[in-house]
Amino acid sequence: MTWDNSAITITTFLPIVGALVILLVPASQDRLVRGLGIAVTGVALVFAAVLALGFDYGTDGLQFVLDVRWIDAIGARYHVGIDGISMPLYVLTYLLSFLCAIYTWRYVPPPGRTKAFIALMLLLETGMAGTFIAFDLILFFVFWELVLVPMYFLIGIWGSANREYAAIKFFLFTLFGSIFMLLGFLGMYFRGPDPRTFDILKLQEFAQGGGFTDGFQLVVFGAVALGLAVKVPMWPVHTWLPDAHTEAPTIGSVLLAGIMLKMGTYGFIRIALPLLPYGAQKYAPWIGLLAAIAIVYAALACLAQKDLKRLIAFSSVGHMGFVMLGIATMTEIGIQAAIFGMVAHGVITGMLFFIVGSVYDRYHTREIAVIGGGMSQTMPKMAGIFAFVSIASLGLPGLAGFWGEVMALLGSFSPNEALGLDVGLYRIFMVLGGIGTVLTAGYFLWMLQRINMGTLPERWSDSGFRDILVVEWVAWVPLLTLTLVLGLFPRLIFGMTDEAVAGLMSFFGG
């Protein structure tokens, strides 16, 4: 075993090992448990960073590969590796988990039980990270499903009033889609190359050699896309998201929005497109249509929200709509936009959920009308950061939110005509997306006006809110910095993804 072939395995499973260690600590040692949580996620982040630094960004192949026997009887192998598409999401997973652990130093939502809280968070981290490095369909699926149970408990135990309903709804929706995805994987296994394999790269080679029939691809793409679409979530299977995000504890929302949603879009780029190219080509306009609807629908829904957290949750549906629109163009620029959009959304919306959590912690309400304005008088720093992140989220040039959206729109201006995509149709999507951008700016600015501006309501005048605390600064500064840096230097992401996306799209001639 060398570092090169064991690095990913160590990094991915480190959090689970940490979780087991934490379970051995007596529950009375509350501080120690929280400290261990920070230490484990911190070490894991360092490992991930070392991986990222040791990565050769000049090629499009897999690196740090480990491909060994796993379950012979089923035909599954333990095949892990990382490429330019996986890398940004993999690192983001570790960064957000680490920041969540820091945030937990101060905030463990009622009913406490710190040990279980942190152990579940670590289990979740392994599941999320594993999804991005698995190159065997079964391994991918196992990691994909591994996140369900911990997230169910995170929402169900530490969530707010309506938590049980939100938790089971989240679980049922995701599971329903994903088992159909599993059936699709099995279909590819049995119709795939000889000898049968679940290996993503081998199946990709087989598919691009015309191995799967057109009719087969149409059916299987439908099944796989259903599983992925629920996770993204695409309109109209998004309805679990507002409930789950609203009811989840702060770090649950951060990880849900920041990383788990990306598992769905990543699956489209990694599996659905390259393994089922004909199906992707035929479904692309429909995906584009649903994405355009999602953008406009989510913006309108946001305008109608009375609950601050729910508003941010709905805004995620819109942002993921842009990501899906980018994918639906089937062009290199569209895929680049999608990956950038995924990272930017993870950073920005993760940050927004942190702020909303902290605002709730002070006001003990999420009702916009009850909060009633004037936050810039009581907590000027919090209000300033809130405004900064909101403006980044609505896509102001120079900040991270801009590149994903504008490039997705650019992509839909000229979709991949070689695949027979209708340019006129995509331009309609582009216009709808443009309208969505305007509405997005509208609801964010209106939200800032109602929260930050105006006079402070009487009831908060002597509440003595404390502005941003040290632990909050520590957890937030990395995200705020990234928001600015990714906006100014988008090459940081594009540099990672360029080669891999070009390699992926070379088949489509985009």
Binding site: I71, D72, A73, I74, V142, E145, L146, L148, V149, Y152, F153, G156, I157, R163, E164, I168, F171, L172, L175, F176, I179, F180, L182, L183, L186, G187, Y189, F190
Partner: protein, 485 residues
Amino acid sequence: MQSVDYHAILPVLVLSVAVIVVLVVDAFLPPRARWLAMPLSLLGVVAALVATLTLIGDEVSTFGGHYVVDDFTVLFQVLFLSVAVVVLAMSLRYMREGGFYQGEYYFLLLTAFLGCVLMPASRDLLMLFISLELVSAPGFLMSAFRKSDVKGNEGGLKFFIIGVLSTAVMLYGMSMIIGLTGSTSLTGVAEGLATLSGGQRTLADASILFVVVGFAFKVSAVPFQFWAPDTYEGSPVPVAAFLAVASKAAGFAGLLQLMFVAFANEWEFWWRAFAALSILTMTVGNLVALQQRQVVRLLAYSGIAQAGYILLPFALVSADTATNDAAFSAAVSYILIYAIMNLGAFAVTAAVSRRHPRLLISEFAGLVKVAPVMAVGMTVFMVSLAGIPPTGGFWGKFLIFQAAIERGGWGTALAAIMVVNSVISIVYYFAIPRAMIFQEPESEEVMRPSWLVTAVVVTAIVALVAIFVIPNPIAHLGDISVLGG
């Protein structure tokens, strides 16, 4: 006329001796020492288990081919004897504190397990019938062991009447098959059936259905399931565990031999019946389970739904031996995993029943605070029954899906139906963990389950997680797909 291989039948002999010893010893023990029947039974079962383990890898046929020891036999015998250990462990405290007739109970329990152990080795219609009766008859009595309880009497009587009826139907079918083919051995029947034509073939097909109906009662397949919830609820909890796990697995062991050996060539006729049975069983089981408020009834309906999943591979049979092997191994693996997770769930239920004899789901509220090991265990078992990682139940369902997709055609549709069912099942499987973890207990007083039950629960948790991490051994069990004749 034939020599008997005593090594091959050693597990059966040991268990038979234990049965007699337990019955006789009970008569000479003072009432206070009656609980000794349990350690004695345990000793017998463990001895039989050791005897079985010495048979691993053997291929022996004795009694003129009616009794066969091969990997399939050993696998199921080890399963049944392990289940027996667990049921005995659950029984000790339950039977002592409940004021039951302990000597008779352990005698009946061991007799039933004797039938279970005979079942996988029986390669003959009559032997299968005798084994099945040996499982059922003590079951009738044990399920009515709560004599002063109206529900116990009702459940026992229902089980008895329906059990006898199904036996009669099955025996009728068997007698016609024996008449038509002139053979009682499974391979002889298969050969005989192949030569039939015309009206005789129609009669043979009808007879196969009769036999299937008989077994469908045993494994509580819809529409022959309605006795199960009442009987489980009325039985002592360890007996319910026996019925739900051992009795059902024995039924499946017999059914597997019949369908995949004796009736295999008639698959074109019967696979549709199994498709219908499977769909009905899983769907009805799951939908009715949604309505349950009592844990044993919930487990009963869950067991019906699970039987539907195990019936699915039967509907995948075709002329292609590769897919048949996959289907067979999927069914076998699922039965094993089902046994572990269900036994665990019943063990927790038995522990909770000491404080809350009515066993309502709402009475499990806050269990994580008063009995953390039990609560964590129950959560793992429910997640596993739902088929979700990180538990062994996931691979169980996976193997069935894999076999179904490999079969293609109708198999794909069946898999899709099973997917929808799996999602429905989450709602009720999660109802118990929800109560245990999300809700507050009525009293904070700590619950102290017996160390035997705790050991069972911990072992089951470890086994399910281990199967998830290292599924190779379980998945390889399917290699025993060729049954000896």
